[in-house]
């Protein structure tokens, strides 16, 4: 006679047997899915080959090189001023920030120091490019998750910052404004007041994004706990920027390794978040954008007067040596290792781009996540293809 518990046990065993039969008969294997290279979610032509078990990822491998332009080889056959046109195009959303570490490394080898006015304006333009870059991310994260509206606000408000960059440099996207020894031109009349009003608008934009996305329950459900990267893994992979600060590491190159720009002349704070998930990365970037507007305001108040360019010879020859300077770019830590042999152009340039290291963590973090979470994590890591592929 079978008791209730016996019957339950028999039912359990038979259901397991039925499952096993189904698996054998149907041979439910894995599926290989290519996300990219043409895909709305990857910011450019990045291809991620995933092996899926249903909707769960077993393995994800990014494959890049669709946009490899060979910048390191190209820089070897150009003079130093000619290199800056190439470097603008590495991170094309915040272009001025790309030129700065290269120019600073060349200045270090030449033992030339740009005048204080040039350093302050460099810092202001650096922070403006940070705002332009990260503002797009704040809206774009919504698009990855399905909220179509915030990205339009991001594009609209970003235009104000780009207008300011254009007013001073002449170019919205690729200013090519930094020169060894200073800047190409001084700021035009009325630029300071206009930029202050633009900063007010950007602060309103940050508040809008906070209302629309950060407070949204669906956004939080999709992002909290998704793609957690602990601090030691992040450091070992060399992740930098907001990704690292969102894992709880209190490290900002502007504060800790200032290469001579004006960040140590004003008060500002570094934002970190202990969680290390996608929500933390979004939150840290939102706070950083707001902080950048405050930095620009304070810098605008105190620009010192003086020349805009130091005395450098017309034909620039950088003495032999090696130098490495890295700065806290919008995407992370970007650095240039310049090897010079005393001639008109560099002998070897190693471009250390932040997105290269940020994306190398993808195979580690994607094990066992669902397909929608793949998009969330990719979106929150925030890479730009020109940065990965150079």
């Amino acid at each position: 006679m079978t008791t209730t518990s016996d019957r339950d046990q028999l039912a359990y065993i038979s259901s397991q047997a039925a499952d096993a039969r189904v698996n054998v008969e149907l041979n439910t294997g894995d599926m290989t899915l290519n996300i990219g290279p043409q895909h709305p979610a990857t910011h450019g032509t990045l291809r991620i080959a995933c092996r899926l078990d249903g909707e769960q990822v077993i393995m994800a491998e990014p494959m890049m090189g669709y946009m490899h332009r060979g910048y390191e080889k190209l820089c070897e056959v150009r003079t130093y001023p000619q290199c800056t046109t190439l470097i603008n195009r590495i991170d094309w959303l915040g272009s001025f920030a790309n030129e700065v570490p290269f120019i600073l490394a060349a200045e270090r080898l030449m033992e030339v120091e740009a005048p204080p006015r040039a350093q302050w304006i460099r810092t202001i333009l650096f922070e403006l490019s940070r705002i332009a870059n990260v503002a797009l991310f704040l809206g774009d994260m919504g698009v990855q998750l399905g909220a179509l509206t915030p990205v339009f606000f991001a594009f609209r408000d970003r235009e104000h910052v780009l207008n300011q960059i254009e007013a001073i440099t002449g170019g919205r996207f690729h200013p090519n404004f930094d020169r060894i020894g200073g800047l190409k031109d001084d700021i035009p009349k009325g630029w300071i007041e206009e930029t202050k009003s633009v900063m007010v608008k950007m602060r309103t934009f940050c508040d809008e994004m906070e209302d629309l996305l950060v407070g949204n329950e669906i956004f939080q459900t999709r992002c909290r706990g998704v793609g957690v990267i602990p601090a030691d893994v992040a450091l070992s992979y060399g992740m930098s920027g907001a990704n690292l600060r969102a894992s709880g590491v209190d490290w900002d190159l502007r504060r800790d390794a200032n290469p001579g720009l004006a960040w140590d002349q004003i008060d500002w704070r570094v934002w970190t978040h202990p969680d290390g998930d996608s929500f933390a990365r979004y939150w840290v970037r939102l706070q950083e954008t707001r902080e950048a507007t405050y930095i620009v305001d304070k810098l605008l108040d105190g620009i010192p007067s003086g020349p805009i360019m130091a005395k450098v010879p017309r034909i620039i020859k950088v003495p032999a040596g090696e130098a490495y300077i890295s700065t806290e770019n919008p995407l992370g830590e970007m650095g240039y290792y310049i090897v010079s042999k005393g001639e008109l152009g560099p002998f070897r340039v190693k471009i250390r781009t932040p997105s290269f290291n940020n994306i190398s963590v993808v195979p580690w973090v994607m094990k066992g996540v669902y397909v929608p979470d793949v998009i969330t994590i990719l979106g929150s890591l925030y890479f730009i293809l020109g940065d990965i592929d150079r």
């Binding site: 890049m64 450091l235 490290w251 020859k317 040596g321 130098a323």
Partner: protein, 233 residues
């Protein structure tokens, strides 16, 4: 204001980096071959290639847990020369008071072999950084660092396809950027830059002189606008 303090600090000894150099030399012992310190700028240490992994492990245990980058330098001079003898370069060299002389050194902590591998490590707690260099041996390969620093995985793949340096112990060194059928190692100095062979670098061509018949006209227009705006105000 910034330049004054920079000059002052240039004259003072770089205590932080001196202390770093001492503690690192102590830890590395005989693996350290050479070192170079530029005060208030940077620190380079050159180590023996056969102790590459141990050195990295020691550096990580000393607190340098952040992986900056891993790259290589090819010290050979490119056989075809840097410039294509264009008008632009010719003018440059004529105007120049000092002719361009290429230094024959092989950089800081000078290398003996053609290829040098360089790694930059940073300490997130002490906010210090330094470079580790090693000369790649005759067999063009060194040990992999990916078990110590996970980020070295992709950097080593890129260096392998660009320079041809092998990394012993790396499980999958297949190409990162280049398509599968690509032959050669592009970043080597003897790999020609094909674009320059296909079309020689024209130098500065897109600045044309203003045609003479227009030059006077344009100058008159500019002067008129200058006077109308109050002239030199």
């Amino acid at each position: 204001m910034v330049s004054e303090s920079a000059e002052e600090t240039q004259l003072l000894p770089d205590d932080v980096r001196e202390a770093m150099l001492e503690s690192l030399s102590e830890a590395l012992g005989d693996a350290l071959v050479e070192s170079h310190l530029r005060p208030h700028e940077d620190l380079w240490l050159r180590v023996r290639a056969d102790r590459w992994q141990d050195v990295a492990q020691m550096a990580k245990s000393l607190g340098y847990t952040y992986f900056g980058f891993l790259s290589a330098i090819d010290w050979e001079i490119a056989p075809e020369g840097r410039y294509e003898n264009t008008e632009f370069d010719g003018e440059l060299e004529e105007e120049d008071s000092e002719p361009v002389v290429q230094s024959t050194s092989t950089g800081y902590a000078g290398g003996d072999t053609r290829f040098q591998v360089i790694v930059q490590l940073q300490s997130p707690t002490e906010h210090t950084a330094f470079h580790l260099k090693t000369d790649v041996g005759e067999d063009n390969s060194i040990d992999t660092l990916r078990d110590i620093y996970a980020g070295a995985d992709w950097h080593e793949r890129e260096i392998h396809e660009m320079f041809g340096i092998g990394f012993r112990g790396h499980p999958n060194l297949h190409p990162l950027y280049l398509p599968g059928e690509f032959e050669g190692h592009p970043l080597r100095k003897d790999f020609p830059l094909l674009a320059r062979h296909v079309k020689p670098w024209p130098g500065v061509v897109d600045i044309e002189d203003i045609p003479e018949h227009l030059e006077a006209e344009l100058e008159a227009q500019v002067m008129a606008a200058f006077e109308a705006a109050g002239g030199g105000e």
